[in-house]
């Protein structure tokens, strides 16, 4: 392709300065809800979004389920839901934010409906279905008895939120990448007074001054695997979610925890297939019957190993079981699943590969719920799966979609290569330490969604965003006008524009792949002190000797280069945290050859890391540091 002149006006070195009350970094689900919530408190709000807020972020393209939500149709309480989440994760779960989410999730969902989001079966497409409540027209997933997980029309959500933000006068800076947090007196660890941003189409540098800032930038990805040939697959979430927020807050001196957690799954390995686009019985496809190559059904069992005799039993708790978790593996909350010895039985020849999802055999309502509602409303499904597959001739009434989790049948449990680990690609991941105001360890900096430590889920991002928005607004109403130092801004400008000054050098892709190779070789599983120290050495080498050669020749590539520099920072954070945990842990997928004791009680705690005077400062917090859930929520929520 011949060289094309950059189609947008170039504005390198041109800067602008704006002031606001509440600055929201990241216009995803958490960011939008935070903006709406803050705006309703009467303060000035700005959203800074790298993509286009109307459809950006992991939840931009859609949402199939709104989980863990106490509501009038269910007996399950917020306390019970948090207990389930904590137990399912070995207590390495953000109980604080999960409790906030459980308390406010239903109200948040109703608010979304008022804004224009579709949350009920208003067209009566599923009249008479087992998972539908006829009166409210709510549809439920996974546990039809306890009704705590809603099935929703999530493709309608993001555009609805965007419209509401605009209606409330939120100023949105799309195509603007946040690059650093501004701290008072340019001191690491002092109050956050705003952020800097880069317009990724024009290259303009923008200074945002704010009384309160909310980090809604999700978590880190692309630390262990990067491939541009396996595109769309070597990260589960949008590839441009790289932990910019983590890196920025780290540099500013904020504390993080659980950065040592990684996992090895087929999500983000690069060798799976388009998300939700292959036959499987997991979540979006639950409880689809799976068959082998000869059409033989693979049995389902409940948590006690009892073979289920009909499909209805897959969506009900077992005898004596309180309720079904969305994906818990612990006995108390485990959903029915395919026989756990499937792998052995395949190897013995009892079931013949490949396996298929047998949609044609499903009862009509279940079939249409899976193919058409869940696959359809979940992100990355309406066009990539539903439309593309239908045009290719796939018919859910006649066709068996092949499964690619060959030996375990279930994507969540299929383990990838130990070196192809995931960090923030799926499930709970490391993030910012926060208090009951969802405030980080830095004054003026709040966090919501997956930027929070040990967090996950759309409903959680929405609800914590809504909470953090009002807490940040409350603070902004009494905070002083922020002052920023010229030197801090100029230093950041230098850093941001450096790659543009070079005529050639190393491409951002090679830089990312090199970082991943260091992580694969020195911070994979199992670990030891020597390997990780060497890994740290080589990451420092990349930082000191290779980043200075990184070059970009337009604003878009500059964005990609800056992303990779933050991937490097997040990878360093992972090694810091990994070195600090001197015990192994099942729940953190963390095995150390030199510290083989598995989850000893004295190590059942949060390891915290932060930068102090440029050096990594290690700390710890008790596993339940948030204290009494109800008491603290009542004291801090700011609701009557």
């Amino acid at each position: 392709m011949p060289s094309i002149e950059w189609p947008y006006p170039i504005r390198y070195q041109k800067g602008s300065e704006v002031s606001t009350d509440v600055l929201i970094l990241g216009g995803g689900v958490a960011g939008c809800f935070a903006a709406i919530s803050a705006a309703k408190k009467g303060v000035k709000v700005i959203i800074v979004e790298k993509g286009a807020t109307i459809r950006s972020g992991a939840g931009g393209a859609g949402c199939d389920h709104w989980v863990h939500t106490p509501n009038p149709l269910s007996k399950i309480t917020a306390e019970e839901l948090v207990a389930y989440e904590l137990e399912s994760n070995g207590w390495y779960c953000n109980g604080l934010s999960r409790y906030i989410a459980a308390r406010e999730s239903y109200d948040t969902l109703l608010e979304l409906e008022k804004m224009g989001g579709k949350i009920r079966d208003t067209e009566d497409e599923f009249k008479g279905a087992e998972f539908r409540d006829e009166k409210t027209k709510f549809l439920f997933a996974y546990d039809y008895e306890n009704k705590i997980h809603f099935r929703v029309w999530g493709t309608t959500f993001k555009p609805t939120l965007y419209k509401e933000c605009k209606r409330l006068g939120v100023k949105i800076y799309d195509r603007t990448m946040a690059t650093s947090l501004l701290t008072q007196e340019d001191q690491q660890g002092s109050k956050v007074v705003g952020a800097t941003g880069l317009d990724v189409r024009t290259g303009e540098f923008i200074i945002f001054r704010a009384k309160a800032t909310i980090n809604c930038l999700s978590r880190h990805q692309r630390n262990f695997v990067f491939s541009s040939e396996l595109r769309g697959l070597s990260s589960f979430r949008p590839p441009n979610i790289v932990g910019n927020g983590h890196a920025m807050a780290w540099r500013a001196g904020a504390a993080f925890t659980m950065m040592e957690k990684t996992s090895a799954t087929t999500f983000g390995s690069g060798y799976s297939f388009p998300s939700y686009g292959s036959g499987n019985p997991f979540n979006t496809w639950f409880p689809c019957t799976m068959v082998d190559a000869n059409g033989k059904e693979i049995p389902w069992v409940d948590r006690d190993g009892r073979i289920l005799t009909n499909i209805s039993e897959r969506t009900r708790p077992a005898v004596g079981q309180k309720f079904l978790g969305e994906r818990s593996m612990v006995y108390n909350y485990r959903k029915p699943q395919l026989i756990p010895d499937l792998e052995e039985r395949i190897k013995r020849g009892e079931f013949i590969l490949p396996l298929y999802a047998d949609l044609p055999s499903m009862p009509e309502n279940e079939r249409r719920a899976i193919w058409g509602l869940m696959v359809g409303e979940e992100g990355k499904t309406k066009i990539p799966i539903l439309q593309v597959y239908t045009e290719a001739g796939f018919d859910p009434n006649k066709d068996l979609l092949q499964g690619y989790q060959f030996l375990r049948g279930d994507q969540m449990n299929e383990v990838g290569h130990p070196k192809e680990r995931t960090t923030g690609e799926i499930a709970d991941a490391g993030g910012l330490v926060v208090d009951w105001d969802l405030r980080t360890t830095l004054e003026g900096l709040y966090a919501a969604g997956d930027a929070l430590f040990a967090s996950n889920y759309y409903y959680h991002a929405a609800t914590t965003g809504r909470y953090a928005g009002r807490k940040a607004a409350e603070y902004a109403l009494i905070a002083e006008k922020p002052e920023t130092l010229k030197k801090q801004v100029n230093d950041e400008k230098e850093r941001v524009y450096a790659p543009l000054r070079r005529k050639d050098g190393i491409e951002w892709k090679e830089l990312n792949a090199a970082i991943c190779r260091v992580m694969q070789n020195y911070c994979s599983e199992p670990k030891n002190e020597e390997l990780m120290k060497i890994g740290f050495l080589w990451l420092k080498d990349v930082e000191d000797n290779e980043v200075i050669k990184a070059y970009a020749d337009n604003p878009h590539k500059l964005m990609r280069t800056l992303e990779v520099i933050d991937i490097l920072t997040c990878s360093q954070m992972v090694i810091h945290a990994s070195l600090a945990r001197k015990a192994s842990s099942t729940f953190l997928n963390f095995m150390r050859l030199d510290c083989p004791l598995l989850d000893p009680p004295e190590w059942h705690k949060w390891i915290t890391i932060k930068l102090k005077n440029g050096e990594a400062d290690i700390g710890e917090l008790p596993i339940d540091f948030w204290g009494s859930l109800e008491k603290n929520y009542k004291a801090h929520c700011g609701l009557p």
Partner: protein
Amino acid sequence: MAKEKAYATPNVVIPNRPVIFDSNICNGCNRCVAICLMDVLIPNLKKGKPPIIMYPDECWYDGCCVLECPRSGAIKMNHPLMQRVRFKRKDTGEHFRV
């Protein structure tokens, strides 16, 4: 007989056709360019022509561009050949692929 020619061309980055435009339907409104999460598209210099897929290797395959397009058929998603899932007709056993 005219002398045959060849040109030194670099290898193409793949996958390079995450979406395919139909220039007979697309009118270059650029709504897909405005919405792309990864910013892989740039507007064509010629007004009314389909956008250029500048960074096809960055596409996340979310399909928001197709969802946003007001003209049916103007833009279609195209999974990389190595990411096409297989399916089997239940009654005949015939094999198909996306």
